[in-house]
C-alpha cells in the first residue's frame, strides 16, 4: 500500500493526507475526520472508519481497543428533507434570524 492509496472513497482522501493529521497528534477517527473530511461522504464513514482506525493504531502504537468508534449522527440513514420536514410548522427552538436580530444570537 503506498501513500497515494485512497482510504476514503467518498471524499477521495489518501493515506498520505491521513498521516499528515496523525503527525499533528490526532488520536481518534473524529479528529482525522474534521481536518480531512474523511468520513463525511455519502456513506457516512461506513466504508472508511475501520481503515482509518487501523492507520491510527499503526501510527500511534495504540491498540484498536483504545481508538473509539465514530460518533453516531442522526438521521442514521440518508433521509429526504421533505420527509423530515413533515407537515407541522416549526416550533420554538428554531427561530427566523431576523426575529432575533442576530443569526447566532446575542
Amino acid at each position: 500500500m503506498d501513500k497515494s492509496t485512497i482510504v476514503c472513497r467518498c471524499e477521495e482522501i489518501n493515506v498520505d493526507e491521513i498521516e499528515t493529521v496523525l503527525k499533528m497528534g490526532a488520536e481518534t477517527f473524529d479528529d482525522v475526520k474534521r481536518i480531512t473530511r474523511c468520513g463525511m461522504g455519502p456513506c457516512q464513514a461506513k466504508m472508511c472508519v475501520k481503515h482509518v482506525s487501523n492507520l491510527i493504531s499503526e501510527y500511534t502504537g495504540k491498540p484498536l481497543a483504545e481508538i473509539p468508534p465514530a460518533r453516531a449522527r442522526m438521521p442514521l440513514k440518508i433521509t429526504r428533507m421533505r420527509v423530515l420536514a413533515g407537515t407541522e410548522s416549526h416550533a420554538s427552538t428554531v427561530k427566523a434570524v431576523f426575529e432575533e436580530g442576530d443569526p447566532d444570537e446575542k
Binding site: I35, M40, R73, M81, T93, A96, F98, D102
Partner: protein, 362 residues
C-alpha cells in the same frame, strides 16, 4: 509534535486550541519571538470550532459597537488569508429574511443605526429578495441585505492557524487536560495531565469549558451553554447565491441549515425533534430543499456570555492573566487574535476594548 512530560517554562501559555486560542497564538507568534505553548485536552476542532455554521456575519449584530467589531474582523479576513493560506473565505453578502410587515420597521431601524458605524444595510422588498435569491420562498416579505457578510471553512481556518503558528515555533500539547492553575508571584503554574508548565502569562481560551478553567483560579466566568443542531445535505448544484440567515451553501455544494438554541449543558446528542423543526425551516425558507437528501446533522455547544457580548482582555486584579471567550468566535477570531496579541505584548490595543472586560459583570 514533541510530547511534553516534565515542567517547562514559557512566556505565554494558552489553554484551548479552538479558533480563539489558536488565533491568539498565531497573531502573537507573528509579533515577536516569545516562547508560546498551546494546551488542549483534546484535539483542534473537538470543541465548538469544529461544530459551527461558520458564517462571518456582521450586519445584524447589535449594539452597533459590537457590529463594528465584527465588521473590523471580517475586513481582516482577506489579509489573514494572504498570510496563512486559503481558508475558503467567501464574502457572499448576507440576507436576513423577514416574514411580517412589522419586521420591516425593525429592519429600517437596524439599517439606520448600523449606518453610523459604517455597516451598509439595504432593506429589500419581496421582489428584490426574489431577484437576488430566486430559490427563496415567495412567502418572504423582505430582507435586510449587506455585502459584508460571508462564510469560511472552519476546518481549514483552524488547521491553517495551527500550521502557521507551528511554523512560527509555537509548541502544542494535545490530549492534555489542564487540571489546575496556581498563581505564583506574577506568573502561573499550569498543572496538566502530562506535567506542570511555568508561564509568565496565561490565557484562558477554553470555549464552553471557560467556567471550569475559571474555577481553577477562583474566578466566576459568567457564560452559559447553548446547544445548536445543524443539518447537512448531500452536495447540491449551486442553489444559493448568498449567505442566508439560517442557511448557507458550502464550496462543495453541501447546504448547512439551522441554528437551534437549547440550554442543555454539554450534551451534544442531537434530537429528532429539533432536526425535524430545522428541516421544516429549510423547506419554508427555500422550498427546493424539500427534494434534497439530508446526510447528517451535527450539534455543537456555544459558549454565550450572559449579556451576549464577547469577554476578552486582562482579568482585573490578576496580573498577566487573560481571558477570551465568546460566541461568534469564527467571525471574530481575526480581530480578537490581533487585539489580544497587542495587549499581551505591549499592554496596549489599537482599538478600545474596555467594554469587553470581564469587569463589567462585577
Amino acid at each position: 509534535m514533541k510530547s511534553r512530560t516534565h515542567a517547562e517554562a514559557y512566556d505565554v501559555v494558552i489553554i484551548g486550541a479552538g479558533v480563539i486560542g489558536n488565533s491568539i497564538a498565531y497573531h502573537l507568534s507573528e509579533q515577536n519571538s516569545q516562547n508560546i505553548l498551546v494546551i488542549d485536552k483534546s484535539f483542534p476542532l473537538s470543541g465548538t470550532s469544529g461544530s459551527t455554521q461558520a458564517w462571518v456575519w456582521v450586519h445584524t449584530k447589535t449594539p452597533s459597537s459590537y457590529g463594528e467589531l465584527s465588521l473590523f474582523s471580517s475586513e481582516l479576513y482577506p489579509y489573514l488569508e494572504r498570510k496563512i493560506g486559503d481558508v475558503e473565505y467567501k464574502r457572499t453578502g448576507g440576507l436576513a429574511p423577514f416574514f411580517t410587515e412589522e419586521e420591516r420597521e425593525k429592519a429600517l431601524k437596524l439599517a439606520e443605526s448600523q449606518a453610523k458605524v459604517g455597516i451598509d444595510i439595504k432593506v429589500l422588498s419581496r421582489d428584490e429578495v426574489l431577484k437576488k435569491e430566486p430559490s427563496f420562498s415567495p412567502n418572504v416579505v423582505g430582507a435586510t441585505f449587506s455585502s459584508i457578510d460571508g462564510n469560511v471553512n472552519p476546518f481549514r481556518l483552524l488547521e491553517l492557524y495551527t500550521r502557521a503558528a507551528e511554523k512560527n515555533k509555537v509548541d502544542y500539547s494535545f490530549y492534555n487536560p489542564v487540571v489546575d492553575i496556581e498563581q505564583q508571584g506574577d506568573g502561573y503554574m499550569v498543572h496538566s495531565e502530562k506535567g506542570v508548565f511555568r508561564t509568565k502569562k496565561l490565557i484562558l481560551a477554553g470555549g464552553p469549558w471557560s467556567k471550569q478553567l475559571g474555577s481553577f483560579i477562583g474566578l466566576d466566568i459568567p457564560v452559559k451553554l447553548v446547544r445548536g443542531q445543524v443539518l447537512i445535505t448531500e452536495p447540491l448544484a449551486p442553489l444559493l447565491n448568498y449567505t442566508i440567515g439560517g442557511i448557507r451553501q458550502a464550496n462543495n455544494g453541501e447546504v448547512l441549515i439551522g441554528y437551534s438554541k437549547e440550554e442543555v449543558g454539554y450534551n451534544r446528542q442531537g434530537t429528532l425533534d429539533v432536526i425535524q423543526e430545522t428541516a421544516n425551516m429549510a423547506v419554508s425558507f427555500v422550498p427546493a430543499l424539500a427534494n434534497a437528501n439530508v446526510v447528517r446533522s451535527f450539534s455543537g455547544v456555544r459558549v454565550v456570555p450572559e449579556d451576549g457580548l464577547p469577554i476578552f482582555g486582562e482579568i482585573p486584579g490578576r496580573k498577566n492573566l487573560y481571558i477570551a471567550t465568546m460566541h461568534s468566535g469564527i467571525t471574530l477570531s481575526p480581530v480578537i487574535g490581533t487585539l489580544m496579541s497587542e495587549l499581551i505584548s505591549s499592554g496596549e490595543t489599537s482599538l478600545p476594548i474596555e467594554k469587553y472586560s470581564i469587569s463589567r459583570f462585577a
